[in-house]
């Protein structure tokens, strides 16, 4: 891949030969890391009896039976659970974008009494384990009959409880030149217009990071969904997958792998589409 490196900035130590070894080592290690995933993909198209007899990746016999079997293994088709997950996740993304960006603008750009105190509370709340609130939340949501609805999961997102994203956007807004806000203020724009027409358009990278992380984390989140969505008509993909594992015991691994891959599909898609934002988001929150 890279034998033709010119020698700019390259220490004497890293001559082409040693670089090649390095690449080889990295590729071998990467394959080793991803081997379980490749194995799952390959197993999902193997007939059941071959899965554990063949550790290799190339199947000697290919079948789509696992996918059709797994798709219809539970009460509803797996597409039904994927749809439930998609609705829940998209609402969560909208909620986080809405509430966290409002809060972030206030913390990054406005002066108001007790701001430092609230900001400190917000930072501490990032570290708060949500188990410490989950019992009373469950009791309250149970009381207003919200169990087996998506609201116990979606509503908190519209109330900016994922403070991590507020922090991420505050960090981002702080890097934007204040002159832009001031110019907008001189032109007579209020805070809402400055927020919507000046700051938000510049925040697109931070918003994208927020959207992608929210999507992936909500899609994967098993604890809350398993807690609130137990009715067989309400299950989301991860909860349905778990039920599948429960109900089939130690058989039908092929269909289970097939549906596992289907359930990871959207995450993989978002990962490919948004890598740039994911990496940048991780880096900025980690550093500043």
């Amino acid at each position: 891949m890279t034998t033709k490196t010119t020698n700019r900035r390259v220490p004497v130590l890293f001559r082409p030969a040693s670089r090649l070894t390095k690449h080889a080592l990295l590729i071998v290690f990467g394959l080793f890391m991803l081997y379980p995933l490749f194995w799952m993909i390959s197993s999902s198209v193997k007939p059941e009896e071959l899965i554990f007899r063949e550790p290799g990746l190339v199947p000697s016999d290919v079948t789509a039976g696992n996918y059709t079997g797994g798709w219809h293994a539970l009460k509803h088709s797996f597409g039904y659970y994927l749809w439930n997950s998609a609705v829940l996740t998209c609402l969560a993304v909208v909620g986080n974008l809405f509430a966290c960006s409002l809060a972030a603008y206030a913390f990054a750009r406005l002066e108001f009494p007790l701001k430092k105190l609230w900001f400190a509370i917000m930072l501490v709340s990032i570290m708060l384990p949500h188990h410490v609130t989950v019992v009373p939340q469950y009791i309250a949501f149970n009381k207003i009959d919200w169990i087996n609805t998506i609201w116990p999961i979606v509503l908190p997102k519209f109330l900016a409880t994922d403070a991590f994203f507020i922090f991420l956007m505050v960090q981002f807004i702080r890097t934007l030149p204040r002159e832009l806000d001031e110019a907008a203020a001189i032109d007579g724009a209020g805070h809402l217009r400055t927020f919507l027409q000046v700051v938000m358009p510049l925040c697109v990278p931070a918003l994208a990071t927020t959207a992608i992380f929210t999507f992936i984390w909500t899609w994967n989140d098993f604890f809350t969904q398993n807690l609130y969505l137990t009715n067989s008509d309400k299950l989301t993909a991860p909860v349905a997958l778990r039920q599948f594992l429960d109900s089939s015991g130690d058989s039908s691994w092929g269909p289970m792998f097939a549906m596992s891959i289907v359930s990871l599909g959207p995450i993989f898609g978002f990962f490919l589409a948004g890598q740039k934002y994911l990496v940048r988001g991780m880096a900025t929150t980690g550093l500043k």
């Binding site: 890279t2 406005l110 908190p156 995450i267």
Partner: protein, 330 residues
Amino acid sequence: MTLRPAAADTATETAEPPDTPPVQTGGRRRRRRKSSRARSQAWAGYLFLAPWFIGLFAITLGPMIASLYLSFTDYSLLAPAHWVGLDNYDKMFTADDRYINSLKVTTTYVVVSVPLQLAFALGLALALDKGLRGLPFYRSVFYLPSLLGGSVAISILWKKIFGTDGIVNTFLGWFGYEGQGWVTSPDTALWTLIVLHVWTFGAPMVIFLAGLRQIPRNLYEAARVDGAGTLRQFRSITLPLLTPIIFFNAVLEVIKSFQSFTQSFVVSGGNGGPVDSTLFYTLYLYIKGFKNYEMGYAAAMAWVLLLIIGALTAVNFLMSRFWVFYGDDN
């Protein structure tokens, strides 16, 4: 991390007051004009924060206090809560072996898996840092597992990879080693989860990579001129300048791994087995609160968890004084 901007703010503020006292009247008038603008900003600030405030009080602080109250009661959703004082806490530490066990299991998990995970993350970040071609590709390959690691799908996969007839045993078989059911043996089940956690080293690795990029190149050039070898450069430049990032990753991963749930739930079939060897703290909390409906007890467990995490973070911060090096101290 966030300390720097905040510190800068207070510095400019404390610098102002000494000038104001002599010109009392003028100052006051100016302050009044300023205050009407300030008042409009204050209004706007609190309006923009309105959703967050509602969330803070209704979803976070309110339930926190409620759960503190519940932790002193006996409550099962059906009958009204009744006050039992410190009984729940007392029972936890004196009469509940499963609880003590879940603490041990979780502690082992955190203490073993976090350092290993960070070591891998740092190692790979160093290997990728030196202007390597194809960096984005490698970074993606190593980062992907940390996005998938928390999912039910991967836990299912893990259960099978480490099962009696899983690929781990097949590989071991090639080297003439008789495998075993790693997930079904109480001696090894927790280790399969530790391996899963280490597998997700990509997230801290990305943070390390960004940190490495901030180290000025000319430091290395100067060191080379002085005749320092690769190892010496690593020990005297890279490592000290990276300590804030190592610290940040350590705090984050300890907090996160202490709350791990999905892996142990799925791999053990929801009961923390075999023989409670994978009974994570949060899994036991879930069983107590939402399977047995001992919600007072679960609330007490949650508060102890909060105290543990708070204490771990505090210890981390205290220890950081001895080994974390902030370059801009002066």
